[in-house]
Amino acid sequence: MSTQTKKGRALNSSYQAGNILKEYWEDAARHQAEGRPIAWVSGNVPIELFWSMGVFPVYPENYSAIIASIQRAQEFCEEAEQRGFSNDLCSYSRVNLGIILGKGIKDPGLPFGGIPRPDMLITTRIPCLIQVKWWEAVREFFKVPLFVVDATMIDLPVKEHQRQHYLGQIRELIPIMESKLGVRFQEDKFLEALKLSDEAAGLWLDLLDTRAAVPSPVGSREMCGNVFPLVAMLGSSRPIAFFKQLLEEARECVKAGKGAVENEKIRLGWDNIPMWYNLKFFSDVEDQNIIFTYETYLKYVWGGRMDLSDPWTAFANKHLDVWLNYSIDQRVRTLLSDIPKFKLDGFVFHENHSCKRFAMGQKDAAVAIQEKLGVPSLFIHSDMADPRAFSEGQSRVKMEAFIELLQAKKK
């Protein structure tokens, strides 16, 4: 079995991810400069709709993750906290509010020249409830319209009344966008956006499936860097070429038995949003012949296939079928089916202080996978963006002990 070198990306195409991100934020600024509308949106909004209507969807959540990855989240969290926002609020929101209420969204010290000003705010209750309050605070500042897409939590399969409730929200949203932003909904463009979204999602999911191979062609650190187009660009053509290249490379690696880590010995799964300021947590583990090769965050939060013979039904199903919108039972069932498929030896649950809806049910899942599959778990209590929540020494000891436990189990 041949192996990758330890340093650098396992898949060469992954090096494009940084450029795609840069282009996205530059495009957003250009879009605004040309007088076209910008909507600030959040995870799991009906993104295909925006791209099809010529509304540029700007993701402050992503921007907060970028700020965290360049080790600047703490200063903005503190800025927001000094203005009365509790540190129990989501750190993405604190970073964003810290930027807005501090030196502002156009501070030249910010990455990509800052965040374009919103013409409208659109969010959804699907992944998060704090998001609604966050957008309300942002609305106070920018005085722009806010729309909240409501949705029910689900067990699969999605029920008709859940779909109808969701689609009812979309039917309300469209005319409001048209009147507030001066854009027009055209069904043919929307269907084209759905087609692009479905194609990109298919490629992404196939890419994730290649990682069930032993050895795995690519680990979590790299894949967390590759997910951005799936978050923010579904419905545009940009993700397709990128994911195609990643998939081709990953398939070649699998065919050649080429692993992302040397002499892969232990395979791990990860639950919840990664620690963006500390992706090194993944790579440190990879240096020990261990790979994180499965993430609920990458598989069930962004993107999903759609049966376009019935596009509106498929569209509703896709947006409701999201990990954060699953009941605990549905989450457990999903893990019980995926862990054997990905041949995982252990599972790491990130008890993310900021995303309690993601962390909900983790203990139930840990008990179930131990009892039914004999797969042990580790809990790391930390945060996706606020580095103050991470205890370096304690987390290191826990991870080291967990690896020792898994190694002993394998002997």
Binding site: P376, F379, I380, H381, A389, S391, G393, Q394, S395, V397, K398, E400, A401, E404, L405, A408, K409
Partner: protein, 282 residues
Amino acid sequence: MWWTEDIWLNKKNAGGEERLMFYAGIDAGSNATKTVVFGDEGILASHIIKTGLGGEEQALRCLADTCAKAGISREQVVCVYGTGYGREYLKFPQSHRSELMCHGVGVHWLLPEVRTIIDIGGQDSKGIRLDDRGEVENFNMNDKCAAGTGRFLETMAHALQISLEDIGNYALLASKPVRVSSTCTVFAESEVISHVAKGENREEILLGICQSIVDRVSGIVRSIGVKPPVAMTGGVALNRAVVKLMGDRLGCPILLPPDPQITGALGAALMARRHVTAGQDL
């Protein structure tokens, strides 16, 4: 030492000294550095010193003192394993392992029937569950707060101007605890001082302090599923009140190794021995 002296003396008297090989484990904890030197059949000596600023020099000094106690030279120690908070900064051990594994191995050697270990050290509190081979099958530890650790007790001892060793003995004289509810060690110190100012009974305050440790740590231990027999290790296991209250809370007696502070170092020494004798890097 208590359980190996006879074996050691017998070996010596039989002229077997030359053939003996020695192994050492160093537990570089946040508060204390502990060393155990192990011979072919048991512990020869152990030693505990304050970690202070820690580092290689302090660990080497601790090892040298332990060798001196054992009556052997440092060169006769063929393999050293490190553990504890500062293990990664030690360059001289052949390898190092996590405290969780070392406590598991150490306790299993001393008390093979134990299935759950509660280790409360200077800044960590851990629950460790062992299987019947002494392998760690589950664990949990405090993530980011020093409440429920030895440091908490140290702070309270300082606030009450009492020695750390006396906390448990005085606490057991009380019939009911004064509640110490602050999670934060610093706030708990203020709370304790205000109890003193209000004229609360000192023994009852001390019992409240010990109860507060048990409240925190029992949550960690219960999260892994307590399987008796249960043992306690770490410096806080020397506090009789905490041990008693923990037993009451978990509803089972708490076993104590002869010297609960050295089980991590002992586990490391046992792994050093396994490294040499079985050629196996555990």
